[in-house]
Amino acid sequence: MPVVVVTEAEEYQKRINADKTTVALFAADWAEQCGQVKDALEELSKITGDKLQFISLNAEQFPEISMKHQIEAVPTVIFFAKGSAVDRVDGVDIAAISSKSKKLAESASSAAATGQTLEDRLKALINTAPLMIFMKGDRNGPRCGFSKQLIGIVNETNLPYETFDILGDEEVRQGLKTFSDWPTYPQVYVKGELIGGLDIIKELLANNELEATLKG
């Protein structure tokens, strides 16, 4: 499917709200680099087939939409899943646009194959292991101070656990915050139940309740 040039706000809304993940290019006629990105999207649309839809719109023609998504420069590419922005690439970073598109196309096809919704996926993920930690990085290379402290504390209990790196999956990163009504990472789950973040783990430790809680 070729890149569709959108000229009406109504059509834009309809497109981004569709079940199909949308790759939207915010462009301007006077910016040459936009053409480069558009060509790249045309190529990508051939590879990803019908998994994704690609649209292009003139950012200046839609000031409200551009403002909403804080488009500060063209080209900017925003990825939409059912109406909400799940990822973005500012500027001409063809490599990033391409890898993000391919990843979304893959997850679209795996979701389509199994009929799995994001909610199903999150439920499955939090139940991957009896003790499950969603964090930035992994146990050997935590990529945030809070995640690092958390791993240190949990390691002390010698309990087995699994981790999920939310930095590698924007859909899970945003989705789990809403799903579990918890705004930050790391997040600790025992048998699929949210226990909390680092503060709660520290407090449980201080109250000598940590091991019992993590065992579930």
């Binding site: 705004p183 930050t184 909390g196 503060d199 709660i200 407090e203």
Partner: protein
């Protein structure tokens, strides 16, 4: 860089949670990206640890979008008395 400072967060938590004690420390050298808070409120009575933290998180939902790191210790008035006792013993 966020537009919030510890005074603003203290005031908001105090008002919204009718807290008897709130102290918020800016741990980011003033850039407003990292805070830690101690909150004592009767609103926490009967709530689990998770529920207490959720209540605070939802009170600061807007602010937490911009604050990179926020840690909290949230106590009921009874728990706070015990915490203070322990601190005095140490």
């Amino acid at each position: 860089m966020s537009k919030y400072n510890s005074k603003y967060l203290e005031d908001k938590l105090k008002t919204q949670l009718e807290a008897q004690h709130v102290s918020v420390v800016d741990e980011s050298d003033g850039c407003g990206g990292k805070f830690s808070a101690v909150i004592v409120s009767a609103a926490f009575n009967g709530k689990t640890l998770l529920q207490k933290h959720r209540l605070v998180n939802s009170t600061l939902a807007e602010e937490l979008k911009e604050i990179h790191a926020f840690s909290q210790k949230s106590y009921t008035p009874d728990e706070w008395e015990k915490v203070k006792e322990q601190q005095q013993q140490q």
